[in-house]
Amino acid sequence: MMDALSDDGSDVNQDDTQEDVMTPAELIAKLEEAWLNEKFSPELQENKSEVVECVMEQLSHMEENLQRVKKGDAKASIHRMEIDRIRFVLSSYLRSRLQKIEKFFPHILEREKSRGEGAPSLLSPEEFAFAKEYYANTETYLKAVALKRMPPNLQTVDMLKAVPEPCLDSFVFLRVKERQENILVEPEADDQREYVVDLEEGSQHLMRYRTIAPLVSSGAVQLI
C-alpha cells in the first residue's frame, strides 16, 4: 500500500517535467505569487489559466491516488493536508478574481473588447462568460426594479459611468525580484519635483501601483 503511494507520487513529478519545464513545486510557487499579486493589486491581473489548470490536474491526480489507499494511512493524511492547503490558495485566488470582476465588470469587458488580435486576454473563458452574464443580469435587474418606471428619456444607464473604475493610483507594498533602474516617482504635491529611484533586488517598497503596474505583470516585482 505504501509502495503504491510513493510510486504514484514520483510519477506525478515525472509527468509534469515532461509536458512542462516547471516542477510541481515551482508550479505551486507560481500559484502563490499570482495569488498575492491578485490580492493586493487594485486592478485585475492577466489570467493564469495555465497555472490554474496544471494545479487542478496535480490535485485530481493526487486525489485519484489517495482513493486507492485505505483509511488511516499515515502518508495519505499528510498528502490530504497538502492538498487542502493548495486548494485553499487556489480557491482564494479564483475568488479574489471573481470579486474584482463583479466590482469592475463594465471596464473589464470594455478592455476585452478593445484588446488587439492575439494579445493575451485578461479573463479566462469561464471568467469571460461570468462577466458577460453578470453584466446582463445587472442590467436586467436595474431595468426591472427601477428603470422601466422612469420617464422614457431616463431609461438607459451607461454602465461604464455608473460603476467606478479601479483606482490605479492607490499605494501598494512590493518586493523586487529583478533589479530595476530609473523608476520615475511622480510628486505628491505641486511644490515637489519628480525623481527617479532604482529598485534593488530583494528590497521592499511602498509606492503607487500605476508606476510599477507593468513590472507586476512581467513578474519583476511581487506585491506583498
Binding site: 506525478v12 496535480q58 483606482c167 492607490s170 504635491a189 521592499q204 506583498i224
Partner: protein, 186 residues
C-alpha cells in the same frame, strides 16, 4: 489580507523535528519529505510539524534564533537603532506564536522568549507608526521598507493605504463622476 493568511504563509517555513515513528520518503506536490526515522532529525514544513506534534508523534527543535541570548541582542539593537534592523526570520512573530502555542514543552525558556519577541515586535511597530506618520505628513510618494516583515506590513496596511487614498482624493479635488480619483468603494 487577513492575519491568518499571513500565518498560513508562515507555515510553509521549514523547521527541524525529531520524529518518534518511521516512515518512507513522502512525495508531496510541493517537494519530497523524509524519510522519517525515530530520533533522527528531519526538516519538515511547520504545518506538518505542528500536526505531528499535536498527535504526539514528534519533538520540535526550535530554530537557532529562538534563543534567549540571541533575541536579547536583537532586542537591544532594535532599541538602539532608529531604522529597522534585520530580523532573524521573515516570519519571526508568527513562528514564535505557533511554536510556543503548540510546542512550548520543546522550547527551553518559552516564557522569556515570548516576552522578548513581544518586546522586539512592539519596538518595531512603534517605529513603523512613526515612519508612517512622517510618510504622510511629508507627502512622500515612495518609501523603502527593507527588513519589514509581511505581518508588520499587514498590521498597518488597511489603515495606511486607505488614508493615503483619502488624502489623495481630497488633494486632487476631483468632482465625483470624473474618470480619475474614484475609489474602490461605491
Amino acid at each position: 489580507m487577513d492575519a491568518s493568511e499571513v500565518e498560513f504563509l508562515a507555515e510553509k517555513e521549514t523547521v527541524t523535528i525529531i520524529p518518534n515513528f518511521s516512515l518512507d520518503k513522502i512525495y508531496l506536490i510541493g517537494g519530497d519529505l523524509g524519510p522519517f526515522n525515530p530520533s533522527l532529525p528531519v526538516d519538515v514544513p511547520v504545518w506538518l510539524a505542528l500536526n505531528l506534534k499535536q498527535r504526539q508523534k514528534c519533538r520540535i527543535v526550535p530554530p537557532a534564533w529562538m534563543d534567549v541570548e540571541k533575541l536579547e541582542e536583537i532586542r537591544d539593537l532594535e532599541r538602539k537603532e532608529d531604522t529597522f534592523t534585520p530580523v532573524p526570520s521573515p516570519y519571526y512573530m508568527e513562528l514564535t506564536k505557533l511554536l510556543l502555542n503548540y510546542a512550548s514543552d520543546n522550547i527551553p525558556k518559552a516564557d522569556e522568549i515570548r516576552t522578548l519577541v513581544k518586546d522586539i515586535w512592539d519596538t518595531r511597530i512603534a517605529k513603523l507608526r512613526l515612519s508612517a506618520d512622517s510618510f504622510i505628513s511629508q507627502l512622500e510618494a515612495h518609501a523603502k521598507l527593507d527588513n519589514l516583515t509581511l505581518m508588520e506590513i499587514n498590521t498597518i496596511r488597511t489603515f495606511l493605504l486607505d488614508s493615503l487614498n483619502c488624502m489623495y482624493k481630497l488633494r486632487s479635488n476631483l468632482q465625483p463622476g470624473s474618470s480619475k480619483g474614484q475609489f474602490k468603494d461605491f
